[in-house]
Structure formats: structure tokens, C-alpha cells
């Protein structure tokens, strides 16, 4: 088992939910496939999905819902 970080591909606002009234995509401890969406980045009013990029178990999210993030900033840690 190794720990890997998931980085934000873009600068913008990070969302953990598909919509304000919807549940979060993933919780700490969830098992994910590499193509699973773990959040959204809003950049200039367009929304881009963030994929897990690897199969494993999410250890924890490093960015909060609605937090401004930079491109390349780690947003979650995953145990692969």
C-alpha cells in the first residue's frame, strides 16, 4: 500500500458535491475506481470533473467544499 495525492488539474473553486443540495461524491474512507469523479473544479463559470486517477481507498480530503484551489494543489490522499 502506498499513499498517493490527487491534484487539482486547474485553478478554481473546488466542490465535493455535484450540486448544493446533493450528497458529496466521495467520503473519507470510500473505495474508488480510477475513473470515479471525486469533485468538481469551477473555473470561470465552467465546471470540470476531477477523477480519482487511480483505484484505491480515499484516506482523506485535503481541500474543503467550496475552497479556492490552485492548479497542482493536492485535494485528496488516496491509498493505492
Amino acid at each position: 500500500m502506498a499513499t498517493q495525492q490527487i491534484f487539482s488539474p486547474l485553478p478554481g473553486i473546488f466542490y465535493r458535491k455535484p450540486a448544493p443540495d446533493k450528497p458529496v461524491y466521495k467520503n473519507d474512507g470510500d473505495v474508488v475506481a480510477d475513473s470515479d469523479t471525486i469533485g468538481l473544479i469551477e473555473v470561470m463559470k465552467s465546471f470540470n470533473e476531477v477523477k480519482a486517477g487511480a483505484a484505491g481507498k480515499i484516506l482523506r480530503f485535503l481541500a474543503e467544499n467550496e475552497e479556492p484551489v490552485m492548479a497542482g494543489q493536492p485535494i485528496a490522499e488516496i491509498d493505492i
Binding site: 473555473v43 463559470k45 479556492p68
Partner: protein
């Protein structure tokens, strides 16, 4: 009561535009800014600036209480909302006035009336302004909806009463589709706007988007002629011009008179725009909606009429009456505006925030660049992608098109991809040059010209 200190509750190029107008009127300016806009051009230009919160618009530019506090603590006596954000929020307009401040715009009542698209259609009908055939008000039942589309025929648009700006629209081409889409549209309108109210309009195929600029002082209203904004991508305007290349003089007169009639009927105050669809095959026009604010594309009207709309709306808010009579408003020449967005036309208009590493701006007679850019500016990713607007004016449309081509070549923004290559391709297109387009023209054109747009890849560097 003349305004002495104006707070600008907005950002970007429109904040810069408002600061310039205020300064020309001898009015002091206060620029509010989110943490992400600390280094913005508007903050640099304003007399004072005050931070109002984190980058997220919901926590800064949309935070009414913080903006009102900022006005109080800086001693501003008026608030200009620009466009977007709180510009068409009736509750905010009312709160500004309740705080003893001037809202640079119409009354909360006008905003509320025109913000409800069904009420606005009703007001238009009462003022004798034609609207698109469809429901006279909200559809109260599915049966009423079916009875109606039996009469109008297909295709029809299903719209959310609380929607606007192209949101919440569905198109049904047949009765089957209509049956299928109605419940979906209702559920979505309820989720998106908290109001499941719907109305239905016949879809006018091949229609042009033409809008009339009005100025009112609460007593009298004048029009400043029309703009045509038919070149749209995803219902966002990309190229606007004045006057429209498609209107015969008699129809122009009828259209503009109808806009004044409707604005007068609601005792309109400030700058406003009435949007219409125009069918150039039948020469019929239909009122769509009214925007109760200054619009992005206002400069083309300023260029052809010589009226500074932003200065006028500030003067009116300060209690002045209209300073020009209708017969003094005249059209001179032709003006075109193109939107320079931080989007990459070579990559499906992917947004492109970054640092402006080099900038040169076109000049010369009849060339204007309204923007928020300066060399070294880091364009933040948190807001819309509009960087600026390149506006040209010449004696006629062919002259304006040639000047636009020249000015685009003189514009150089390095460090991030912009929509400049799109406009360079449009300006040389035979249909654009002939004014042969409608609101559904650009999207298929973009598909068929994808290869052309992908070719001249500008230096696109991504910010670290």
C-alpha cells in the same frame, strides 16, 4: 441629490468603465474587491478600495450585507451594481434605498416586474408591444399547455418563469417531445429557481437578436436605437453591433417606438435594454425580455449616438432629468464590439486563466478597448472569462469591419489564450461581412471551422 461618492459593487471591465465615468463627473469612487481581486485594475484606479470577502462570489460580490457595510464605512452615498451579480436583484435595490443610499438603476419594483418573465410579457402586451406567440401567462396545467401548443404549432420553447439569460429553456419539436419535456422542465425549474412556473413560446427559427437601448428618468423615456447581437455561442453574445444590418428604416422606427412605449408604461428610470427576436423573412419583431441594467455591449450604442450611457445613468440616479430629447438622438456611422474572453477557441473554448505576460492595445481613430487588463495581471479563475471588449466605429459597416480586422491584428495579449482568433476568422467570413446570420448561425459555423480555429495556436502558457 447629486452623488458625491459612488461605490462600485462589481469587478472586471465594467468596474473600470464605471470608475472612468464617475471620475469624468467629478464623483469620488470606492471599489469593493474580493481577496482574489486585490490587484485588479479597478482597485488600482479607484480613489478608495475595500475588501469584502473571499474569492467566491457568493461570499463577496453577492454578499449584500457586507457591501452595504462597505458603503457605510466609506461614506459612499450611492451604489452602482454594474451587470451580473446584484444588478437585477430587487431585494438588493430595495435594501440600498432603505439604507438611505442611491441605487444606480431602476426601482426595486421595476426590477421585480421585469425579472418575472411572465409579468414582463403581460406588461408588453398591455403596452401594445408584440410578444412571441405562446402562453399569456404561467401555464396553470398540463391540459392548458397542450391546448395552447395545438394553436401555436411546433417547434416551441418551454421556459422557466423565473429563468433568464438562456437558462432553463427546452425545445420541443413535436407533441410527443412536448409531453416528455414538460414534467422535466417543471422539476428542473423548481430545483434551479425554487419556482416551477413555466411558460411556452413558439420558436422563431432563423430569428435575429435585436435589442433596443432605452434611457429613462422616471418621468420620460428615450431610445438610443438598437443593437444586433445575433452571433452567440451557448446563448452568450460574442459579437455585437449597432445599428442592426438587417432593419429597414420603417421597421427600426416601429421597433424603437415600441420599446419606449413599454419602458414608459413602467415609468422606467436609468439605462435599460429591451430584447427582441426579429424574423427578417416576415419583418415581424417580438419582445423577449427587458434587462434592467447597463449591458456588456453598451459601448456600440455610445459610439453611434455619442451618448455616454454610464454617465447618464449616474446623473439620472443623482436626480437629474434626461438631458437629450428623442429628436436629438441620431445615428452616426456603424460600430462593432467583439468580446475578448480568456477562452481558447482552438480547444473548445476552454477557460484559460493566467498571467498577462505582455499586452499591446490597438489605438487610432474610432478604436476603443474597454478592459480589465494590464501587463503582469494575473487573471483569476473565479469569475467569468470576459477580459475586455474591442470596439470600433467607422462611417459605415464595411469600414467598421475593415477597422476591426486591423485593430484585432494590433491587439496582443500574451500568457493566456483568448478569443481573438475567433474574431479574426469571423471578420473575414463572407456571411458575417454580408450580415447574413441569426442566433443559431454561429454554433454550426464553429463546428465546420474547428480546423481553422485550431490552426493558429497562440502562445498559451498556463500560470504555475
Amino acid at each position: 441629490m447629486a452623488i458625491k461618492k459612488l461605490l462600485i459593487a462589481n469587478r472586471g471591465e465594467i468596474a473600470v468603465r464605471i470608475i472612468r465615468a464617475a471620475r469624468e463627473l467629478g464623483i469620488a469612487t470606492v471599489q469593493v474587491y474580493s481577496k482574489a481581486d486585490k490587484d485588479s485594475l479597478a482597485v488600482r484606479l479607484a480613489d478608495e478600495s475595500i475588501e469584502i470577502g473571499p474569492p467566491q462570489a457568493s461570499k463577496s460580490y453577492l454578499n449584500q450585507a457586507v457591501i452595504l457595510d462597505a458603503a457605510r464605512s466609506t461614506g459612499a452615498d450611492a451604489i452602482h451594481p454594474g451587470y451580473g451579480f446584484l444588478a437585477e436583484n430587487a431585494e438588493f435595490a430595495a435594501a440600498v434605498e432603505a439604507a438611505g443610499l442611491i441605487f444606480v438603476g431602476p426601482t426595486a419594483q421595476s426590477i421585480r416586474l421585469m425579472g418575472d418573465k411572465v409579468a414582463a410579457r403581460g406588461a408588453a402586451a398591455s403596452a401594445g408591444v408584440p410578444t412571441v406567440p405562446g402562453s399569456q401567462g404561467r401555464l396553470e396545467s398540463a391540459e392548458a399547455a397542450f391546448a395552447l401548443v395545438d394553436k401555436t404549432g411546433f417547434p416551441v420553447m418551454i421556459k422557466a418563469a423565473a429563468g433568464g439569460g438562456g437558462r432553463g429553456i427546452r425545445i420541443a419539436h413535436s407533441a410527443d417531445e412536448f409531453h416528455h419535456l414538460m414534467p422535466q422542465a417543471q422539476a428542473e425549474a423548481l430545483a434551479a429557481f425554487g419556482d416551477g412556473g413555466l411558460y411556452v413560446e413558439k420558436l422563431i427559427e432563423g430569428a435575429r437578436h435585436i435589442e433596443v437601448q432605452v434611457l429613462g428618468d422616471g418621468h420620460d423615456v428615450i431610445h438610443c436605437f438598437e443593437r444586433e447581437c445575433s452571433l452567440q455561442r451557448r446563448r452568450q453574445k460574442v459579437w455585437e453591433e449597432a445599428p442592426s444590418p438587417s432593419l429597414a428604416p420603417a421597421i427600426r422606427e416601429k421597433l424603437c417606438v415600441s420599446a419606449v412605449a413599454l419602458a414608459k408604461a413602467v415609468n422606467y428610470r436609468g439605462a435599460g435594454t429591451l430584447e427582441y427576436l426579429y424574423d427578417d423573412k416576415t419583418h415581424e419583431f417580438y419582445f423577449l425580455e427587458m434587462n434592467t441594467r447597463i449591458q456588456v455591449e453598451h459601448p456600440v450604442t455610445e459610439m453611434i449616438t455619442g451618448i455616454d450611457l454610464v454617465r447618464e445613468m449616474i446623473r439620472i440616479a443623482g436626480g437629474e432629468r434626461l438631458r437629450v430629447r428623442q429628436d436629438e438622438v441620431r445615428v452616426s456611422g456603424h460600430s462593432i464590439e467583439v468580446r475578448i474572453n480568456a477562452e481558447d477557441p482552438a480547444r473548445n473554448f476552454q477557460p484559460n486563466p493566467g498571467i498577462v505576460s505582455a499586452l499591446s492595445v490597438p489605438g487610432g481613430d474610432g478604436v476603443r478597448f474597454d478592459s480589465m487588463l494590464y501587463q503582469g495581471y494575473a487573471v483569476p479563475p473565479f469569475y467569468d472569462s470576459l477580459l475586455g471588449k474591442l470596439i470600433v466605429h467607422d462611417k459605415d459597416r464595411p469600414g467598421a469591419i475593415r477597422k476591426l480586422d486591423r485593430a484585432l491584428a494590433d491587439l496582443n495579449v500574451e500568457g493566456l489564450a483568448t478569443t481573438k482568433p475567433l474574431h479574426q476568422a469571423l471578420v473575414r467570413d463572407a456571411d458575417v461581412q454580408a450580415g447574413r446570420f441569426h442566433t443559431a448561425w454561429l454554433e454550426p459555423w464553429l463546428e465546420s471551422h474547428a480546423a481553422t480555429l485550431a490552426a493558429p495556436l497562440p502562445t498559451a502558457k498556463v500560470a504555475p
